[in-house]
Symmetry: C2
Subunit: 88 residues, 2 copies
């Protein structure tokens, strides 16, 4: 589970569409698909129910989405606070 993967995951969850999420993230569809799969493999969980017509979160996906938002926000905050201490 990496920060980049969490960002990818949130994008797909919000767009409910790999293609749109990929464009929004400035990556290609395959790259995005692979990273989501890597995340699913890592967590031993399926995060989305895919079909050419719809992409919806599984229950596990819903749970991860909550945590992903918190983690990404907290990471951002960590960066800011660390840097605000002083450039050195």
């Amino acid at each position: 589970m990496e920060f980049r993967q969490l960002g990818y995951f949130v994008a797909v969850a919000e767009e409910r569409h790999f293609g749109r999420a990929a464009r929004r993230l400035y990556v290609t569809g395959p790259s995005l698909s692979q990273q989501i799969q890597a995340l699913e493999r890592d967590l031993h969980v399926t995060l989305f129910e895919r079909s050419p017509r719809s992409v919806v979160l599984t229950p596990a996906g819903e749970v991860l989405l909550q945590h992903a938002h918190v983690l990404l926000a907290r990471a951002e905050r960590a960066r800011d606070e660390v840097r605000s201490v002083g450039p050195l």
Copy 2:
């Protein structure tokens, strides 16, 4: 800033010694040193005052240490909760 780097950082902070931290992490000294440097470059901050005799946290390092603990714990919790929803 990646989770692996945060783990490395916490180990060095706790050991106050690159060599011991490296052994504890099952990586070599140089790899650890490089990753800490990469993290420092990424954050534009110096995290440790190094000398052959002592390795101590800078103020910025102290701040990061707090956040690192929270982030790693929260990530661990996310894993657990996601997996507890169901293997699928």
